[in-house]
């Protein structure tokens, strides 16, 4: 995956690097969790619940922690969010639940650490078997395409309703971006796989790997063989800069590097650019920059065409990046890939920008940043090839993404979609889980209603 960087030196001593990829926020100790749980005011109609995309009853689970009922707390979380363990680690809580916590009020000291408490509950649960029942078999069989958070959540909820589920996944491992995309220091070791193993314990879910819609799988066949189809395809394509030299050695999408990094058994074997540039302003850009620092890069510069406020990465994440030595350059947009005599990337030329009457324009000045590698992290896009067969190509789209109605139905009857590949909501793990769950409810209702009619 990192062929574009094969000319670079290796990162070095893998064992030493490991330390940089442990938990960004260490878990709470038992005592810290109890103290923190006491800070929750058990609000009524709590604003934090409204802010959680997956509707977790936060005051309830925190009260359960404080009452020494860890399994109760875990169940409260998992009832709404079966991937509550990974969400507790990857959610940008500073713009979600914790932002809405009433203890943010001026007169208070800081929000309740909801994410860390959620993690505490899930890390310490100890169920005898799986905490959810599978309803009696309905005889229905649903195909879920994509084993990312959306697909897994959908599959689990469908299984709870008694449907059989087959998840068809292109990659060799399940988890989607939980396995291949999230920064390594947020979701460490094999947590994604352990969580999926737990999820699958409900039974009735089969995952088949190497199954790619638009390649060795058609929507036609799926609709023929299954009672309904859920598409949780994510955003597999990386946006392009649209510049000459975009394929030169030394330039590659950040997501691909992260994917390799997350799978590497020896971090020391990864190619390492001493000086690198990351282009973008979202979490992916920040994650990439932070991970390069941790791998040992000397200079990491993140470049964005507007100001820091406009960056989609939260202020909290920007601050962490800066504290880790990432240089953030704003008001500069990519203009030219600088290529050295050896045909490899030697840096990037940026056009200085400003806003005039609300639109972004180049000032005429340029800025060259020398680099051994350039990573683009300017956003993910829906990969059209997934919906390329005759039937799939008829699915209505919304600015590239899949169009759905309020019940997660696509324009094709019997086909549903959710997660990053649809328009509503933010592209976040927790949002994908919510979509999967709600889509499963919708599928369940629709097919059970059909059955009654029939």
């Amino acid at each position: 995956m990192t062929d574009a960087l094969s000319h670079l030196p290796r990162a070095g001593d893998g064992a030493a690097l490991k330390a940089g990829f442990t938990d960004l926020h260490p878990p709470l100790t038992q005592r810290q969790a109890i103290i923190e749980s006491q800070r929750c005011l058990y609000c009524y109609d709590a604003p934090c619940i409204e802010a959680c995309p997956s509707d977790i009853d936060i005051p309830r689970f925190i009260r359960e922690i404080s009452e020494d009922n860890i399994n109760g707390a875990a169940q409260t979380i998992l009832e709404q969010n079966i991937l509550g363990g990974s969400c507790a680690r990857v959610c940008p809580t500073e713009i979600l639940c914790e932002q809405s916590c009433v203890r943010n009020h001026d007169a208070e000291c800081q929000p309740v650490l909801i994410g860390l408490l959620q993690r505490h509950a899930i890390d310490h649960m100890h169920f005898d078997g799986h905490p959810f029942h599978r309803a009696a078999d309905t005889g229905k069989h649903i195909a879920v395409v994509g084993a990312g958070p959306a697909g897994l959540s959908c599959g689990h909820r469908l299984a709870m309703h008694g449907h059989r589920v087959t998840i068809l996944e292109a990659e060799a491992k399940p988890g989607g971006l939980n396995e291949y995309g999230i920064a390594k220091y947020k979701l460490v070791d094999d947590y994604a796989q352990r969580e999926i193993a737990f999820l699958l314990k409900i039974g009735g879910i089969e995952i088949r790997h190497g199954q790619r819609l638009g390649d060795n799988l058609t929507l036609d066949a799926l609709q023929r063989d299954y009672d309904a189809v859920f598409l949780g395809l994510g955003l597999a394509a990386s946006r392009q800069l649209g510049l000459i030299g975009e394929n030169a050695p030394g330039l590659m999408p950040a997501t691909e590097y992260i994917k390799t990094l997350r799978q590497a058994s020896d971090l020391g074997s990864l190619p390492l650019a001493r000086r690198c540039v990351v282009i973008g302003a979202g979490n992916t850009a920040i994650d990439m920059a932070m991970q390069m620092v941790r791998l040992g890069a000397d200079e990491v510069t993140l470049v964005y065409r507007r100001d820091a406020e406009a960056m989609s990465a939260t202020g909290h994440e920007q601050a962490i990046a800066k504290a880790n030595g990432v240089r953030i350059v704003t008001w500069a947009q990519p203009k030219q890939v600088l290529i050295g005599d050896d045909g490899r990337v030697s840096g990037m030329r940026f056009a200085r920008t400003e806003t005039r009457d609300g639109t972004l324009v180049a000032t005429g000045e340029t800025l060259d940043i020398p680099a051994d590698a350039v990573f683009k992290a300017i956003g993910q896009a829906f990969a059209d090839d997934g919906l390329s067969d005759d039937r799939a190509s008829r699915i209505a789209r919304d600015g590239g993404k899949i169009h759905i109605d309020d019940s997660f139905r696509t324009s094709l009857a019997g086909v549903y979609a959710g997660g990053d590949c649809v328009v509503p909501g933010q592209d976040l793990t927790v949002q994908a889980v919510q979509h999967g769950k709600l889509a499963a409810q919708a599928i369940h209702q629709d097919i059970m209603a059909q059955q009654e009619v029939a």
């Binding site: 109890i34 103290i35 006491q38 005011l41 058990y42 609000c43 009524y44 109609d45 709590a46 604003p47 409204e50 404080s66 009452e67 009433v102 203890r103 009020h105 007169a107 208070e108």
Partner: protein
């Protein structure tokens, strides 16, 4: 010369039932006052007096192992404390010798000796001169120990029988010239009855409360209460912060009983900081005793207690304890004398409100549906009191997590004071 901070210019010294002390903070008869070693440390720390751990006849009592348990708050704060210890488990002779020595070394402190011997005249007649010989400043009769000792006809077994209280008090007044403080048990229905009995017996003062019968918690795995002695448990005596409200009511009952109004009261029960002490004093106590708070934090707490009390007194312009002792008694009355025309209403300070919704759900579910929840277009919530519905119960103010966010505002009224006796709604009204 060492630098010294400025201290408030108030006089904390007291004279209680003829006993002088440099401050009103005394240690109650309990483990903190068990022996010379503890008492010396307590005096060094600044305690104004101690009531020595209860003495009995030889052979000394024998204690079991595993003795205390607690009622914990969620964060392991001790709300209430429970013990199944008996009176001193050291010989009378050793105790008397130590009392004599300590008193000699600390002439300015109050040293009171707590006593519990069988309810026969001979026993009291025998022990009282021995105690007097130590130079102690007074005696306290432990008629309240609720566990163990009553099974042997002592402690609460005496304190629950007014005739015996009177009898024992009289023996003490007969065979000793020391001031006699009768320590009352709260394990009765009307505290005024034993207080009156003590007065009749000639008591110089009463002290209260001793501990309350209790089972604090269970070991649900082994189905046995705590503290667990082997496989069993027994009820103990409850004290600590949780008992303060019960103790204060009993103090007030005695203070406002015309029969005992002049009887000095030493307040005991859950006193943990200066404010607790000030409250007891305002309800009529002339001195206070502390046990659990010292057991949990050590003797050093007396520093903060003295300092806090002195500063508060200075702020209020009280130069000595007597200036505010009993000041809240006259405002403590029977329900039937409360003003039926008084009306208070909750008021929410919107700037302080953090929008937690607790006041709303409390009032909505369990009180008078007098708080409205308003949500504006941006999703901001606002909680408002529906004044016409508010009965002034204080529930919202109590559940609100923010200090001074909800205040109860007395409503101006042109109606005169009217007691229930005068209220036309009272079917049993006494008409003149």
């Amino acid at each position: 010369m060492t630098a010294t901070a400025k201290r408030p210019d108030v006089d904390l010294s007291i004279e209680f039932a003829g006993i002088k002390a440099p401050n009103p903070f005394w240690l109650a008869s309990a483990p903190p006052t068990d022996k010379a070693y503890n008492v010396e440390r307590a005096f060094e720390a600044g305690w104004g007096g101690v009531v020595w751990k209860t003495l009995g006849e030889d052979p000394a009592a024998v204690n079991v192992s595993s003795r205390y348990s607690a009622h914990f708050g969620k964060n392991r704060e001790v709300l209430g404390f429970n013990n199944i210890e008996l009176i001193t488990d050291r010989s009378l002779e050793i105790n008397l010798r130590e009392i004599t020595e300590v008193k000699q070394r600390w002439p300015d402190r109050a040293l009171i000796v707590s006593l519990m011997v069988p309810c026969v005249e001979e026993s009291w007649k025998a022990i009282l001169p021995l105690v007097e010989a130590t130079g102690a400043n007074g005696i306290e009769l432990n008629l309240g120990c609720p566990h163990g000792m009553p099974e042997r006809g002592m402690g609460a077994a005496v304190g629950q029988n007014p005739d015996l209280i009177e009898q024992v008090t009289r023996w003490c007044k007969t065979y000793s010239s020391l001031p006699v403080i009768v320590k009352l048990t709260p394990n009765i229905t009307d505290i005024r009855v034993p207080a009156r009995a003590a007065l009749r017996g000639g008591a110089d003062a009463v002290s209260l409360i001793n501990t309350i019968n209790s089972i604090t918690s269970l070991d649900l795995d082994n189905m046995v209460a705590k503290p667990t002695v082997g496989t069993q448990s027994t009820h103990g005596g409850y004290c600590g912060a949780a008992v303060k409200p019960i103790a204060m009511n009993m103090v007030a009952e005695i203070a406002r009983d015309p029969e005992t109004a002049e009887l000095p009261i030493c307040g005991i029960g859950g006193i943990s900081h200066w404010r607790d002490a000030a409250e007891f004093v305002a309800l009529g106590a002339g001195a206070v005793q502390v046990c659990t708070a010292a057991m949990l934090h050590g003797f050093r707490i007396v520093d903060e207690m003295q300092d806090g009390l002195a500063r508060w007194m200075a702020e209020k312009g009280y130069r000595s304890l007597s200036e505010f002792s009993g000041k809240a008694v006259r405002n403590t009355t029977d329900w039937k004398y409360l003003d039926m025309n008084f009306q208070t209403i909750a008021h929410i300070d919107q700037d302080k409100c953090i929008e937690c919704g607790r006041c709303y759900i409390a009032c909505e579910d369990t009180s008078h549906q007098s708080i409205a929840k308003l949500v504006d277009a941006s999703g901001t919530r606002r909680y408002e009191v529906i004044e016409e519905e508010c009965v002034g119960c204080n529930l919202c103010q109590i559940t609100c997590p923010v200090q001074d966010c909800i205040t109860m505002v007395p409503q101006p009224s042109d109606k005169p004071y009217m007691s229930w006796n005068e209220d036309p709604r009272n079917p049993f009204r006494e008409t003149a």
